[in-house]
């Protein structure tokens, strides 16, 4: 029976740091049915790992204190495969992803909800490990997980574990004015080397046989955003974590929102040697690859250098660079200067980047 499991669940055993004992316990459908086993799972594993009074009450909804400021609300589902990858796991992703969305929106993250959709047969040690990551990420960023939900779906109806988090934050003035306010001359910054998350996932998932396995940038942007906003104030126009679709997708959205052209220079883009090597090998463009702890920032003309130097003072954004500028709408919404210096349209990512041999 155990051999079979190894195959069926190879997606999370690959690179999984957790060793699964032969007599391991697994998530069963009964864990999701609302009875004693459900309560046991929630109390002894989830609430225990997240050690949290509000959760423990297990009410239909968490009762939370009044908030003085205006609110920010966001949500994301995390469906990463494999569940564990160099640099993080689905749990760290689920916390940082939502916190980053609040942070780049100008909010101080306060509370998270946590919903687990588990496939029947998920080893409980795997769940525990993910919960531990969640607890650590929450503690590190000072947010509280105050409401949750668990569902179990039959074998084959989900891919091991999906996580949804929703986040509530308090908006802190001055709120960045947003992409719609971009103006000619504004400077574009990326906060670190790009493409690390997507390449890390691709390398482990597709079993490309690469060594060393590249590491994801999965992490919190809370401190960099705070530093930047505290020091630069109104100079910061907008921020966005460059997740799915990568930096190219953020540029495309900002160009649409502002009606301007966003233009970057290929040579100024920070790319790590590993990401570079794999991208060349597979014919991929790091601009289209997902990040999970790297953001794009637009600041007013002239503020780029200062912003970058503030960012460089933190280890998580030590590789920040000014990569381009905002211009009046030209040949395309988003452009790039490649080798020869001529400005070219930059493809909008069309679907997932496929490794190619041409």
């Amino acid at each position: 029976m155990h051999d079979k499991e190894q195959n069926a669940f190879s997606s999370w055993q690959m690179n999984c740091p957790v060793s699964i004992p032969t007599n391991a316990d697994y998530v069963t459908l009964a864990h999701g049915e609302g009875g004693r086993l459900s309560r046991k799972l929630i109390q002894e594993r989830i609430v225990h790992a997240l050690s949290n009074e509000t959760l423990l009450a297990m009410n239909d909804a968490a009762q939370l204190p009044r908030v003085t400021g205006a609110l920010a609300l966001t949500t994301d589902s995390f469906v990463v495969s494999p569940l564990f990858f160099p640099g993080g796991d689905i749990g760290t992703l689920a916390v940082y992803g939502t916190i980053n969305d609040l942070a780049v929106s100008g909010a101080r993250p306060l509370w998270l909800t946590l919903s687990l959709i588990m496939e029947e047969g998920l080893p409980l040690v795997i769940l525990d490990r993910v919960l531990q990551s969640i607890a650590e990420a929450a503690q590190q960023t000072g947010v509280k997980i105050v409401a949750g939900d668990t569902k179990v779906v039959p074998r084959g109806a989900a891919d091991g574990l999906f996580i949804n988090t929703a986040g509530v934050g308090e908006l802190i003035a001055p709120i960045p004015s947003g992409a719609a306010t971009l103006q000619e001359g504004d400077e574009l910054i990326v906060s670190g080397t790009i493409g690390r998350h997507g390449i890390a996932i691709l390398a482990v998932r597709e079993e490309l046989g690469l060594e060393p396995l590249p590491s994801s940038d999965c992490g919190s942007l809370l401190r960099p955003v705070e530093i930047l906003r505290e020091s630069m104030g109104h100079q910061v126009r907008c921020l966005r974590d460059a997740t799915r679709g990568g930096v190219a997708a953020v540029m495309q959205e900002w160009a649409e929102a502002s009606g301007m052209t966003l233009s970057i220079e290929e040579q100024s883009l920070p790319v790590s040697p590993v990401v570079r090597g794999i991208s060349e090998l597979l014919g991929l463009d790091p601009l289209h690859i997902a990040n999970e702890g790297t953001m794009m920032i637009a600041v007013k003309q002239g503020a780029g250098a200062d912003a970058v130097s503030f960012l460089k003072s933190l280890p998580e954004t030590a590789d920040a660079q000014v990569v381009g500028t905002v211009k009046h709408r030209g040949i395309a919404a988003v452009t790039i200067k490649r080798t020869l210096g001529a400005e070219q349209p930059l493809d909008d990512p069309l679907g997932s980047p496929l490794p190619r041999i041409c």
């Binding site: 490309l208 046989g209 040949i331 041409c358």
Partner: protein, 364 residues
């Protein structure tokens, strides 16, 4: 990266561009044969820089673009069988057959695995003894050694669950068919550097002789391409017709003998339908008789499906330089990257996709 970065040096590229402009007295029409070269010319902005100086015709050298619809339909059909895992290079997934693309088939439930190497597909067969793994073997002579090696490895490991849909195409017959056309506009060729890496370039001697057209073996990085273009322009300006190798760090006259042996052991030359071109005599490779048990067409007795509808894509005219993509009646109307009529609108080596992106908000 060594041997990449230095060939992208902007200053050196600028010098070569200037030199090309300096030596050309008129606008010459060159064809880069390989889609990889097309991709690089467009990505690095070389085509745009040379507008008015050199007209670049994006040749048929993208195996993805010329793979026959019937082969794609067959691949989709096999992929949908419960007992089959279809393995393919990522490039082929978005190319429409007459019943949709492999990506469409996957959306409809087919099991399709992207691989980086044909040898990885053999590994997949080893891992799934209960399934038939079918590798969609597209590509030029460059790729054939890898797929040949995969067949040999499957044989060594006595895997009876590995087979190929062989759609390999050969470059030189296509070039001949192009220049033999009465309305041929190509004045010189940049020969495909990696095809020549495997096959060498001696076979071009007779081609150059017969058709009186310069052929320059050319690489893929900006400096490689510029050097190849410069060599062509110089010959044309001097009214010379020679075969030159401007990718000598990689290509030797006789090519790679071991790779050719490998290909000859497994494959034999055959006529092949090229999308847009029709059947090109000796235009492809097929498995030799003694390896035919690795042919998916032998292994699976699927009835051949008729190719549906007409292939409305005008890629032939685009690839022969008689139609600029924006002049195609389907361009940006019924044909766009999200629902392409033809392969050139799909792949990053396709001319139409590149023009589409250019044209989106462009004024020219």
């Amino acid at each position: 990266m060594k041997y990449l970065d230095e060939y992208r040096d902007p200053e050196a590229a600028r010098l070569l561009l200037d030199e090309i402009r300096r030596v050309s007295t008129r606008c010459w029409t060159l064809m880069e044969v390989c889609g990889g070269q097309t991709h690089s010319l467009l990505r690095h902005g070389i085509a745009a820089e040379l507008e008015g100086t050199v007209e670049l015709i994006h040749g048929p050298g993208c195996p993805v673009c010329v793979t026959d619809q019937e082969a794609i339909d067959f691949a989709c059909q096999l992929a949908q069988r419960d007992d089959v895992i279809l393995a393919s290079f990522g490039d082929m997934l978005r190319v429409p057959g007459s019943r949709g693309s492999l990506l469409d088939a996957r959306t409809a439930g087919a099991r399709i695995q992207i691989v980086y190497s044909p040898l990885d597909a053999v590994q997949l067969a080893r891992k799934h003894p209960e399934k038939q793994v079918v590798f969609f073997a597209v590509g030029f002579e460059t790729t054939a050694p890898a797929t040949a090696l995969a067949v040999k490895q499957a044989a060594r490991d006595q895997l009876d669950n590995f087979s190929l849909i062989v759609s390999h195409v050969r470059v030189q017959p296509a070039m001949e068919s192009l220049v033999q056309a009465p309305d041929n506009r190509v004045q010189a060729f940049l020969a495909a550097g990696h095809v020549c890496t495997v096959m060498g370039y001696e076979s071009y001697e007779s081609f150059v002789e017969q058709y009186r057209l310069p052929v320059v073996v050319t690489g893929f990085e900006p400096l490689d391409l510029l050097e190849g273009i410069l060599a062509c322009v110089k010959q044309l300006e001097a009214n010379e017709v020679r075969l030159e190798n401007r990718y000598a760090r990689t290509v030797q006259a006789a090519g790679n003998q071991s790779a050719q042996d490998l290909v000859r052991e497994i494959y034999q030359i055959c006529d092949r339908a090229w999308r847009g071109f029709g059947v090109i005599p000796e235009g492809g490779l097929e498995l030799c008789l003694e390896w035919r048990q690795y042919d998916a067409r032998t292994r699976f007795s699927e009835p051949a499906l008729p190719v549906l509808g007409i292939d409305e894509c005008r890629s032939f005219d685009v690839m022969t330089g008689h139609l600029k993509p924006p002049d195609c009646p389907h361009f940006r109307k019924s044909c766009n990257p999200e629902s392409p009529l033809g392969a050139p609108m799909v792949s990053s080596e396709g001319a139409c996709a590149a023009y589409y992106r250019y044209g989106m908000t462009a004024s020219h």
